[in-house]
């Protein structure tokens, strides 16, 4: 328990933005390049992040839109490479940046279970062992043999959550995915999250729902414009954040506009 699962050391990430707006045409690029009218500026999405997540902890990440929360999660998942610094993750990672990522709508629910498992790094055999559990949890019943395009949004999300959380990771990265399904299914999701905590799974949860963070997490990181504003026990950080938001809303508008990072 005293080991760290996720370790960020001075992690920064820059996005390169063309000053001329985004150039999406080869012809335009060639002309600009030839006439040397191509300049870029850097946009710092994450700025010198240093923190540890101990093994088995559940860390909530809060902050305004564009504060860099999803970007942070992508670095932890190994999807983005930092521009500076090092992030080290110990354990098998299941990133759930968005539910239903990579679903193929022509394929049946069952086929998608295997395909999605492969995306999360699981073999066919691995998924075969879990397929019944996933179908049970998703409560799809006979619909599992139908193409996903016939599903309702709620059904897709249930299946996605079931797959993502059945792959049995030791690090779970969740981006704003807990508010799925109806009340009853949400309760089921919450129970599953508690199970994860009991089993010692390290979880990082990005959410705008402060109540969800309060309920599930034991520590919290407040990200503001790419910087760590506060990190610590969940109650303290949430209290600090709430005070700040209140102060902002009380203050004359204008101070709140933060640099938006590309999501």
């Amino acid at each position: 328990m005293n080991q760290t699962s996720i370790q960020f050391r001075n992690v920064s990430l820059d996005f390169k933005l063309a000053n001329q707006g985004s150039i999406t045409s080869f012809k335009e690029w060639a002309i600009r390049g030839l006439t040397r009218k191509l300049t870029y500026r850097k946009m710092r999405a994450l700025n010198d992040l240093t923190f540890d997540v101990p093994s088995g902890a559940t860390l909530g990440i809060i902050g305004h839109n564009g504060a860099g929360k999803s970007t942070l999660l992508r670095i932890a998942a190994g999807i983005l490479q930092p521009s500076e610094g090092v992030a080290t993750m110990r354990g098998e990672i299941a990133p759930i940046i968005e539910l239903g990522t990579g679903f193929e709508f022509e394929l049946s629910g069952r086929e998608n279970i295997f395909f999605n498992g492969a995306l999360l790094g699981r073999s066919w055999g691995d998924m075969n062992d879990r397929v019944n559990e996933i179908i049970d949890f998703s409560e799809l019943g006979d619909f599992i043999e139908q193409p996903i395009r016939t599903y309702s949004t709620g059904m897709v999300v249930r299946l996605a959550f079931a797959i993502a959380t059945t792959v049995d990771p030791s690090i779970l990265l969740l981006d704003e995915v807990l508010s799925v399904g109806d009340q009853r299914f949400q309760a089921k999701c919450n129970r599953r999250m508690m199970d994860f905590q009991d089993r010692g799974v390290t979880t990082v949860l990005v959410s705008h729902s402060l109540s969800a963070i309060k309920r599930i997490c034991n520590s919290c990181l407040w990200l503001d414009r790419g910087k760590v504003r506060a990190i610590g026990p969940v109650d303290e950080v949430l209290a600090e954040y709430s005070d700040w938001v209140e102060a902002l809303n009380g203050a004359p508008s204008g101070g709140e506009i933060s640099a938006r990072a590309p999501a």
């Binding site: 045409s25 080869f26 190994g78 490479q81 090092v86 080290t88 990672i93 990522t101 022509e106």
Partner: protein, 277 residues
Amino acid sequence: MIECSATVLVNDADHRVGTLEELRDLARHSHLLASLVRRDLTVRYKRSVIGFFWTMLNPLLLMIILTVVFSALFRFEGVEPYAVYFLSEYLVFGFFTQTTVTSMTSLAWNGGLMKKVRVPKSVFAISTTISGLINLCLAYIPLFAIMLVLDAPIRPAVFFLPVAFLIIGVFTLGVSLLLSALAVYFEDVSHMYQVATIGLMYMTPIIYPISIIPPKYLWVIRANPLTHLFKLARDPIYLGQLPAGHVIQASVISAVVALVVGWLVFHRLARNFYQHL
């Protein structure tokens, strides 16, 4: 970018992925590759009952159209049977264009995916090439049927076809990697390429015999790597003999060059894909 042993992931700013490392990463994701191929094939053949037969039917219908056009309207001397001459290369050309175009769209299309899960980015071009090769093999079945109907001899040289497909597949993969990487940066690449494929089709002796080319333009045809590559598939079928040594040599060289260049460009550009997807 990433060092990933069994369970430790080091995401380090200074780290640059080498080719070997990327290959190891691909090997680790072999079940993803298999899943992508399976997905391509199921989506293609599942939707309709005629999906599978369409692959068969398509060359048959094409053959009827082109045999009528080129046997009755424009005649090429000494090309008999025309359907076998034409189809033995056209099917391969179809594989080449379809695979390269699909790779371009699929990389951009799977861009959302790459922002959400960590997968080796070249896996999409590779899976597209593999499912294309499987489709190509299936498409040769009706060609053999046509040969039987037309009484064209099927010689043992057809056993060279798997080797031919492999060499053509490597070349196609190289081009796919190159074009799909560029297509992420520039959306007009895929439009320009679609026009280019029409040019390529006429720069390669697919519908006409090379003998109709005036000597002063012959070098254009000879310099086109596709001319040699596609001959690999035509000779065993149309001539019933193995391709000449220099054809095999030229093809292997173009395939290796295409793969190396495609890989290097892809690898170089892939680092910044996330800014463009």
